[in-house]
């Protein structure tokens, strides 16, 4: 009996040590996606595969997400002629299954566990400063079922933990949008500018969304709702701050000054850690949400820090870092509890969209 207990304990401990973390990262200037595995100490590129259809055109894979059941991953290709594309891949084979056209420069996306629908912002990064849209896609048959007009340069599509609301920010109009994930309508929008902060003119939107546009000073690039509290955090890329929004009252409750150019921001599934990439300084900040004074900024292994994927057990944050010119992109692993850089691996050029897939033996 003692032998059996010992053997069981050995198996449990052994399996704990052999846990592997899998994730996908897109390389925007290489038209590549890498499948990465982290074994708790070393991050390894398991496989790298080409995406897109035109070898001599850079199609720019930008956003990537894995569906809640882990069977498929989805990739947005920013550049088309002119519309971008969303492609569905099997996680089993990493082969494309089907595609659908979206809007201009489709970027970040996520699937709602409540509706099963995919919500992808059409960033229209290089277009005119006019309201763009959030595309809603039925990923089962890959049909874009609606484009919901929001603000100028929408980015950072994230879904509330109950799956009922989609949040995004409009980078150039400086707004936070809340979309009802079922009615597919904008429910609320919030001006994120500080008082008198807009660069010029008024900032008004009428019923049909025609807008007198002025450039945001906050330039929000990301929003993440808290997994268990009615709070969301917004990355103020232009104002170098993280903005806390009270979702009950729909007001800004706090502005936290951070380093240069916060770009993506995520919260660990256990709600304990806030992680933000500081694009302008090539570093990543980590905050303990229970005590914001407990924080640390870690230098990334190259410049232009971009995306964040946090493991489902809230232990590790995986950071994509673009690099410059011909440099390879990087993915850095951060141990969240101890707030230190644990490993790093080279991937394709301009590593951006990153998505956690699974923990597996």
């Amino acid at each position: 009996m003692r032998l059996l207990l010992f053997f069981t304990a050995f198996l449990i401990s052994n399996s704990a040590f052999s846990q592997n973390y899998y994730l996908y990262v897109a390389a925007e200037s290489d038209d590549m996606v890498s499948l990465l595995r982290f074994d708790g100490s070393e991050l390894i590129e398991e496989e790298r595969f080409e995406v897109g259809v035109m070898p001599t055109e850079i199609e720019g894979p930008h956003g990537i997400t894995v569906d809640p059941n882990g069977k498929y991953w989805y990739l947005s290709l920013a550049h088309g002629s002119p519309y971008g594309t969303l492609t569905k891949y099997s996680t089993e084979t990493n082969k494309p299954i089907s595609s659908t056209k979206l809007g201009l420069f489709p970027a970040t996306m996520q699937i709602s566990e409540a509706t099963g629908l995919l919500y992808c912002v059409n960033f229209n990064l290089h277009g005119e400063m006019k309201p763009s849209t959030v595309s809603v896609v039925d990923p089962e048959i890959m049909v874009e079922i609606k484009q919901i007009t929001t603000g100028a340069m929408p980015h950072g599509s994230r879904i509330s933990s109950d799956g009922l609301y989609q949040y995004s920010v409009a980078m150039m109009s400086g707004e936070l949008f809340e979309i009802d994930a079922i009615s597919l309508k904008v429910k609320r929008k919030l001006n994120l500018e500080k008082m008198n902060m807009m660069s010029s003119g008024n900032h008004q939107m009428n019923g049909n969304h025609s807008m007198k546009m002025s450039h945001s000073m906050v330039q929000p690039t990301w929003v993440i709702p808290h997994p268990s509290k009615k709070i969301a955090y917004v990355a103020g890329n232009g104002s170098n701050e993280i903005i806390e929004v009270n979702l009950d009252d729909w007001v800004i409750s706090k502005r936290i000054n951070v380093g240069k150019g916060p770009y993506n921001v995520e919260i660990s599934p256990n709600g304990k850690y806030l992680v933000a990439t500081l694009k302008g300084e090539g570093s990543t900040g980590i905050w303990d949400l229970e005590d914001l004074t407990k924080n640390k900024v870690l230098k990334n292994t190259t410049m232009v820090s971009h995306g964040i994927a946090i493991s489902s057990d809230s232990k590790y944050a995986f950071i994509s870092v673009e690099g410059i010119g011909g440099e390879p992109g990087k993915v850095d692993v951060i141990d969240l509890k101890n707030m230190y850089l644990k490993s790093s691996v080279d991937v394709g050029k301009q590593a951006g969209g990153i998505a956690f897939w699974k923990i597996s033996d």
Binding site: S29, D30, P55, T56, P82, V143, K146, Q147, G326
Partner: protein, 664 residues
Amino acid sequence: MKNYILQILFLTISLTGFSQTKTIESDLMDLKMNVGDTFTPSSYVMSSDGSTTSCDNMIYYNKQGVFSTAKSIQVDNESGKIIANQPGLHEVVAVCITEGGKRFSRTFVVDVQFPAVKEIKISLDSDKVYEGTYIPISYEVIDEMGFVRENVNFSIKSSNSNLVVDDVNNIKAVKSGNVTLNATYEGITGTLNLDVLKNPVEYIELSSNADQARTGDVIQLKAEAYNKKGQVLSNIPFEFSFKGKSFDKSNTASGLIMNDGRFVADVSGNYLVTASLGNVSVSKALNIYERNVKRDVVKVGTGLVNDKHTSDFWVFEGVDGRDYAVTGTWGADGTSYFWDVTDPSNILKIDSVQVDARTVNDVKVSEDGKIAIISREGASNRKNGIIIIDVTNPRDVKIISEYTKNLTGGVHNLFIYQDHVYALSAGQKYYILNIEDPVNPIEVGMFELGKEGQAIHDVWIEDGIAYSSNWRDGVYMVDVGNGIAGGSPSNPVAFGNYNYASGAHHATYPFKSKSTGKFYTVLGDEIFPNGIDVNAPNETAGFLHFVDFTDVDNPVEIARYELPGHGSHNYWIEDDILYVAMYSGGVRVVDISGDLMGDLYKQGREIGYILPGDKDGYIPFATMSWGAQLYKGHVFYSDWNSGIGAAKVMPVKPDNSKVNQYLN
């Protein structure tokens, strides 16, 4: 044991209960609507045991998606209200979302019925109908709401035996006299009264501008009909046809003959061309010989780039009178290379610049050899734009300025012409910059199609006309200083357009034929049928479309150059010779002299080719030719995997084979 069986039974029952299937039931089932109708569905969920529940969260949508092609019906996502805009069968999806994210969906076919047919128009595509000929007829079916019905299967009947209608509705006039043709569909009949004329032709004389020719030469046939009195008959709708026998017994004679009497043969052999009207015909024999334009094309020199992909290039004469080239790089580190190509057999890399980009897709040099412009994609600050470079000393080039305004989406292609830069913006439009002061470029104009979903791939300027290649919208000819339409760089005015079905229009080269004086635009496809592999050879497709633009208002596509198994990329035309980079097919040199008609490759017009793939290339031995340029007698080219190179088309060798002894 008994307990065990009971447990199994219980488990089975419970599992059955849990696996009970649910479906959406809706009055969308078998729904028929008329154009203009609205319908709001009522839907519910039915379990396999027959119980029903309502669905609190139902989403409806048109399965065609949200693009303009899907506006045939509009579906409100929340209420499911449908507005029927166009007739046809449409699919509406209903998705029920239940608690916990479980969802089930069902697709319903909605039949928006065609309005009743109101009118059938029949028209005759010929002035006269003669006994013994097939009748060219056009039909148009218009319904009560003005929609034109496509692919209608008529019932066609003749009022008497003067016409015979076969099973697939071909109509032949067999006897002279009056007759009425009736085309009936859905109870509506359109009629056409015809007078079938007795065939007045007693005999036909057929002549041609040549009795023997080479493959690819367009022969003009002339048919003249005469009556019994030997008088010439005018306006006779001759039917031209041909048959032939190849000299090569294992080959098939082939060619193309048009209703205006032009004939071209692809293969050498004996041909018989025929002109006929009804049962009167005459034939004429033509001997067609090999075009015999083959020449050796030899590689002269290479400037190898094998640590990154090479993109476009430009060869130019420097201010010092020597010859230079600039090449871009693709998916790399933003480097452009400068080369001394004065001796094409000894191409020397002499300088480089590196800018913040991953791809320098295009490079061009000003007419005076002083300014180079390079495009940027993948800049780390995402501002991209263009870089202007002083190349007065190509051994020590210097960046003059960077220009990014309105070009942040990446510049894929650009052109320089008379102190102006034409730079593509985010693949949607092009901006025109005045660079008289290259330190301070000034935006002076912009051209876009102004269409939803507008897209552009390239722009090329010649004689004050900008030729933009706009994918599915084809070529646009824009006056930017020529004067033909009153345009200028600050006021670009479009005056010509041609597009074609594949929608893959990628590059344009204007071409005035020296031998015929005709003006063409040569439009190139870019197609990758099987997607990509950047580390292995790729399959490419597509071809060059030759469009006769002599009449700008009525362009006519008249010929193609299609290399089987290889797709087209960039090209150059000089002295009626085409130099074309055919990606995996290498650099091809093609004789495009004389009238052009049909399939130029099949006609043996290819003079020669080289495959630049190099054993030391980025991908060893893999040819992926990007562009070609004839410069001072050498064919320069860039290749994705091997850099820049030069080739020479060798002189014609003396022909001792006597194959062409019958030709002048």
